[in-house]
Structure formats: structure tokens, C-alpha cells
Amino acid sequence: MADPFLELIDISKSYPGVIALKGVTLSVAPGEVIGLVGENGAGKSTLMRILGGVAAPDHGVLRIDGAERAAMTIDAAGKAGIAFVHQELNLFDNLDVAANVFIGREPRKAPPLRLLDTEAMRQRTAPLLKKLGADFTPASPVADLSLAQRQLVEIAKALSFDARLVILDEPTSSLTVTETNRLLKIIADLKATGVSVIFISHRLQEVERCADRVIVLRDGRKVGELTGAEIQHEAMIRLMIGRDLKSLYIPPKAPPGAEALALSDLRTSAFPDKTVDLTVREGEILGLAGLVGSGRTEVARVVFGIDKQTGGEIRLKGEPVRIAEPREAIARGIFLVPEDRKQFGLLLDVSISQNISLPDLASYAKAWLIKPAQEDANAERQKRSLNIKTPNVGVLAGALSGGNQQKVVLAKWLSMKPRIIIFDEPTRGVDVGAKQEIYELMRALSDSGVAILMISSDMEEVIGVSDRIAVMHEGRISGLLERSRFSEDNVLRLAVGRPLN
């Protein structure tokens, strides 16, 4: 392998109350694909933010092409050829796709005037989108894109740099297999042209498939490095969490009960001429698979009362209901864990404890006055049972790592009495250990009679966790699979609208 052109030496970084990184050393050689794994809050994003010049280390040095420096700046990182896809999206939803891809380095025309060359931007964006298989155009406004589509825009942005190193911080967390496969192919192409890639993902399969070398972080320290054939699912997990994991699927204790939620001829505004029919039973986990933009989130939003139901019927235990507001859904015990936690799930600059109590404040209050001690006590309980990594529950939700934020969203609902929970991408950005905990939680909930609808783009998760799988294609349910017929191939066929064998 070639000599490293980039080195991070003995990097430490702490935030008030947490040590995010402690003495981490990392080198990157040209044309190398490095997988970076670790539990939520292990410090992966922090390390990358230091490399990208967004955060400065407290201690340690960076060496680029032999030149040492104490800290990177965003400018310097750009000049050094580092392209960065942030874990949390950083798009401008008042601009179109091409403008976002080229933000900060727009092609110009009429040199002295520094006018935008919109044509060039769009022309140069189009092939990138094509490569990624995006279903939108360079001129599409970002405001109209779903989370997954936005993630593709971020990736396109990184690819548009003539970078020597591309950092991908959980690029696939909202992507389905098809897009992911395309991305892995792109990574291989980059590697072939001598570009290095740092790839962060909680989907270890992906890491296994693309990485030449895997670095494992735990609690801010580098705890291991795997190369070549050592890169194995189990080996990574063992290093990450210090123990082995059981298999994903936990069978239900009892056969599913009565119908809890039924949708018949349900119409949504995203696909006005398609209808959805679906039944979720008490005590089961129904997986809902499909491609990006197939309309799964839209169904969840309608059932939860966010969007207007434009037709059809929703039945709860056989009884037709109208849900006009999330509050009504919540009152009936229907909860939604939204896919975009930053926008819909959390108040980022509010404490964990207050986030958790928000949907059910009345029960922490006496005569409408809130008892903060009760809130904190409940939050502490949730913190322990979900294993949320934080010094205390007064910390702002926005300061948590992505996975821990997701657990806070879950904690909101688990503090209440659920009857039906819709999980929209429940483990987006959640580490394997925590994933397992969430799956166990879901199973425990379903065993207690809760009906669970799990929308997921993670094939491993859909197949590994569900009792049944419904697949959506362009706004309607294209098929239903029982456990015996679960396979990646069957799910994919239904997802693209082809019949099963």
C-alpha cells in the first residue's frame, strides 16, 4: 500500500462532560477505503469533523503531505482535497439540487462579474445524479425532496469535488439496497482512480463489502484495526461492544392477535390515484419495505394525522376513525417515530428530559404546573433502560450523537401507553448494539400486545426483525410476504413492481 498522505496523530477532543476522542491516530493512504465503525457516541463524527476542519482538536496534530498543522480549517480541508458528507444533512432547501451540489464553489461566467453559470452547474450535476440513480433532476428544489433523496444530493456533492479523500459519514442511513449498492460501486470506482474514502456506517455488511481496513472506536479511543480477511461482521461487533450479539430475529411469544390497525383504500396526496390496503395485528411486527419515495412515509404521516387523508378508511380494532391531528392519534395510542428526527422528532436545543416528557406533559404536571423532578426521574429511567449515552438528562438533545438522539425519540413514546407504534426508519444512524436493544424493545412491546408497523430501508433489518413484510411500490402495496417467503430477492422484486417467482 502507498504511503499515507494524511495523518491524524494523537488526537483528543472533549466537550463539557464528555471525552469525545482520546489519543486517536489515523492515517490515510491514496486509494484506500477505510471503514470507521463504533457505537453511537464513540467519536466517529467528531474525528471526521476535525479532519474536515469543522471542529478543532484539543490536542494532537494533523499531517498533510508531510506538513504538520495543529488544526484544519474548512478552507484548508477543501484545498487539501477533502470532501465531506456530514452525518446530519446540511442542505439549503431554498435552493435547487445543482446549487446545493456546488454551494461555495460555483462555476462562474463573465469573470469580472462573478455570475453563476447555472447551465454548467446543472450539466455537471446531471451525470452525478445519474450515477447515483436519483429520481430527481438538478433543477429540482431541495425543499421537495425526501430525506433519502437529500442524502443522495449530499453524496453527489461530495463526488463533485475532485477530491483525494471523500469522507462519508453514514451516507446510507436512509438509503435502500439499490441506492446503497450503487454507492458501493461508486466507492470502488473512486478507489480505482486513487481516491481514498473514509466510510462510516452502522450497517456493518456495507463496511464488510467495501473496506480495505476497518478502524474501530469505542468511547473515544481506537480499540482495534482490522484489515483484509479479518474484516468480519462478528469481529467488528466484538471490538465495538466487547461482546457477541445474538441473531436479529426474536420470535414472538404468542401468535398475533386481533386486527389492531387496518387501512382500506387509503388515499394520500403524494399518490392521489393509488390506494393502500394494509392490516397490522396486535402483537406482530409488520415490516414495510420499498424503494426511496415509494410512499411509505406518506402513509405513516396520514395515519398519524400529520397529512390529510384524501380517501379511504382507517380502522382501529375494526372501528373506523378519523384522525385529523397528531394529538388525536396519540390519544388513541397511535405513535409515530419519524424518519427525520432533527426536523420532526426532537427539539434540538431542549434538554433530553424535556424532550421525553413533551407529548405527555400533563402526566408530569399537577394542576398544570410541571414537576421537573418527575420529568427527570422518568428521563433517568428511560436513559437507563434504553442505555442513552449522556452524562445526565439535562443535556441538550442536539448535543447527543445521532444514535442517542434516536433513542430519545423512542423514549418519548415508550414513556406512554402505546397501542400501535409506527417506526419510520427506527434505527437510522443507530449502532449495532443499540439496534439490538431497539429490536428487543420492539419485540417486548409487541409481546405486550402492541401492534408495530416498521418502515425500513435496511434490508437486513426488514428481513431480520419483521414477522411479516409488506412491500410498497409507487404508492400502493405491491405484495405481502410471510416469514417463510422472506428473501432479499423477493422483497426487491416487489419493491420494483415485478411479480414474485
Binding site: L347, V350, P359, A365
Partner: protein, 332 residues
């Protein structure tokens, strides 16, 4: 107490001490009592405007409401000779209705709060001026309303009742804002309306309520102001008062982006503005410089606060986002 509130308190104390040192008459009970009266008058509606700002909205029409509600109030009392208690009730209810109208236009019709309340600013004053044909409305000479006057402009042990009303309202609204479920919803809606809706909060209702409370407090303030001036020139009565209210709220730590602010801050902001007015008059500063002095003190106060916070010791602690208990909701 938040860092911002502490900074503001220090600024108020420094300004007051300076004034008292230069002109000890500042500390005369009558002067303090007069200043308290004005703090009460301006504070009552600043609290309402502050609540709206916390939800991420804005309220520009209070000054015009004072003109409109004021001329109606004078008319009810002196032309129609309605019982003062009933007339007062009508005015407060009218304020609530205007607030509800704003809330309706903002939440149900989806208009920008700035547009809605700017139109309110223009329309209410226009109606008030048209209604009186631009003439000053005032109580006839010699007519008195002893009970009403005692309630609004009276003083007990030198404490003006407007100030008492203000303090009571501030304490009640402080508890509502910082301790109650509704208050928590106000902050949540101001921080992220969508996320609040996903948590089952009836965001439209919460936002409307803020405008309604603001309207009601504006109605109440209109009563106090009318009895303070005893006459209302509809073209000028209450001009710029919305700026005073917004300035008090923003000085007190409310962010115009919503989701931030504290009742204590709003109270302190109001106090600072009134002490500054008093200062200009007491120190014999040319009144042409009045605004300049107020502006300069605010600017330097905020700047000093910022600089201390940036490089300073204690306050550093409060600025870190991750520090537990740094949440405004939790503090008094």
C-alpha cells in the same frame, strides 16, 4: 436566573447608581414611584408581546390598539356613560378579540405574523382616527371615576397600582411560562413548530393563545394608559410603543427567531428602558439626545454583556450549550 438576566440586572444597577450619584433626587420616593408607574404601564403589554415573540411570532399593533381601544373607552365612559367596570370589561374583551383575530389569521390563514400585525398597526390607528375625525378624545373636565382612577392611577404607600398590576401579571405569567404545561408548549412551538406538532401539541391553538393573551394584556394596558393620559390623540397615542415592547423583550433575552426568552428578562428589559428615560430627564440631558442616550446605553450594555460572556469567567459556564440546566424553562 439566567446569565442574560443577570447581565441586564447589573446594567440596570450600574445605570441607576450612576444617576443616583450624579443627581440624588433620583432616589426620591416620588421619582421612584413615578418611574414604577411607567414601568407598570409599559410592562403590562411588553409581557404579551414577549409571549408572542417566544412562539416565533411578532406583534406590531399594540400601539395602534391603544389608540383604538382608548378612544372607544373614552366614548363608552363619557358619551354613553356606561358603568366603568362594564366598559373596562368591554375593552379587555375587545383586546382579546383582536388578539384572537391575529391568531386566526396567522395560524388558520397561514399569513406571516409580521404582515398581519403590520396591517393591524395601520388599520386600527386608521379606524381610531376616522372614528374621532382625528380629534383628541378625552374625559370632560371635572368628570371623575373615583374607583376606576384609584384602581389604575392610584398609589398605595407610594406604590402605583399600575406597577402592582404589572408585578402580579408578571408573576402569574412567569409561572405560566416557566412552570406550566402551556408555557412549555409556547417554547416548544417557538423552537420547532413541526416537531411540536409531531409530539401531539395543538400548535395552532398554542400560537393563537399567545396572540389572545397579548391582545388581552394590550386591552388592559389601554385602560391604564387612557387613565394616565386622560386624553387620546388618535394620530399619536401609542406611536412606537410596539418598538418599546419588542425592545424590552429582545433586551430581556427573547430571540425573534422564537423559542427563547424569560419573564424575568422581559421585566428587566422594561425596567431598563424606563430607567433610561428617567435618566435623560433627571440629568438634564438635552431631550434631543434622549433617544441617542437610550440607544447608546442599550448598545454598550449588550456589547459589554457579550464581551464578558465571550472572555469572562463565570458566565462562560452558562454559554456552553451542553451544560445541564442551562434551559430557560427551568429557571425562575
Amino acid at each position: 436566573m439566567l446569565k442574560k438576566d443577570l447581565g441586564l440586572l447589573i446594567l440596570i444597577l450600574v445605570v441607576s447608581a450612576t444617576v443616583a450619584f450624579i443627581n440624588p433626587r433620583f432616589l426620591l420616593p416620588i421619582n421612584l414611584s413615578n418611574t414604577m408607574n411607567l414601568i407598570g404601564l409599559y410592562g403590562i403589554f411588553s409581557i404579551g408581546v414577549g409571549l408572542v415573540i417566544i412562539t416565533g411570532g411578532i406583534e406590531l399593533s399594540v400601539g395602534s390598539m391603544f389608540a383604538l381601544l382608548g378612544v372607544i373607552f373614552v366614548d363608552l365612559l363619557s358619551t354613553y356613560e356606561i358603568n366603568w367596570a362594564l366598559a373596562s370589561l368591554i375593552i379587555v374583551i375587545a383586546g382579546l378579540i383582536l388578539g384572537a383575530l391575529h391568531g386566526f389569521l396567522v395560524t388558520r390563514m397561514g399569513l406571516q405574523p409580521f404582515i398581519v400585525t403590520l396591517c393591524g398597526l395601520l388599520i386600527y390607528r386608521g379606524i381610531a382616527r376616522f372614528y374621532t375625525e382625528d380629534a383628541t378624545a378625552g374625559f370632560p373636565f371635572g368628570v371623575t371615576y373615583p374607583a376606576l382612577q384609584w384602581l389604575t392611577t392610584g398609589r398605595t404607600l407610594g406604590i402605583p397600582h399600575s406597577f402592582v398590576a404589572f408585578i402580579i401579571i408578571a408573576v402569574v405569567m412567569g409561572i405560566v411560562l416557566h412552570r406550566s404545561v402551556f408555557g412549555r408548549y409556547l417554547f416548544a412551538v417557538g423552537k420547532n413548530e413541526e416537531a411540536a406538532r409531531y409530539s401531539g401539541i395543538r400548535t395552532k391553538r398554542v400560537i393563537s393563545s399567545a396572540y389572545i393573551i397579548c391582545g388581552g394584556l394590550a386591552g388592559l394596558a389601554a385602560l391604564f394608559l387612557t387613565l394616565y393620559t386622560r386624553s387620546i390623540s388618535p394620530a399619536t397615542h401609542g406611536n412606537f410603543y410596539e418598538l418599546y415592547a419588542i425592545a424590552a423583550a429582545v433586551l430581556g433575552g427573547c430571540s425573534l427567531r422564537g423559542g427563547e426568552g424569560s419573564m424575568l428578562g422581559i421585566v428587566l428589559g422594561t425596567i431598563l428602558l424606563q430607567v433610561l428615560q428617567n435618566l435623560v430627564n433627571l440629568l438634564g440631558i438635552p431631550s434631543s439626545l434622549n433617544f441617542a442616550v437610550i440607544g447608546a446605553v442599550i448598545l454598550f450594555g449588550v456589547l459589554a454583556d457579550q464581551q464578558i460572556a465571550r472572555y469572562g469567567g463565570i458566565t462562560q459556564f452558562f454559554r456552553r450549550k451542553t451544560v445541564p440546566q442551562a434551559m430557560p424553562e427551568k429557571q425562575g
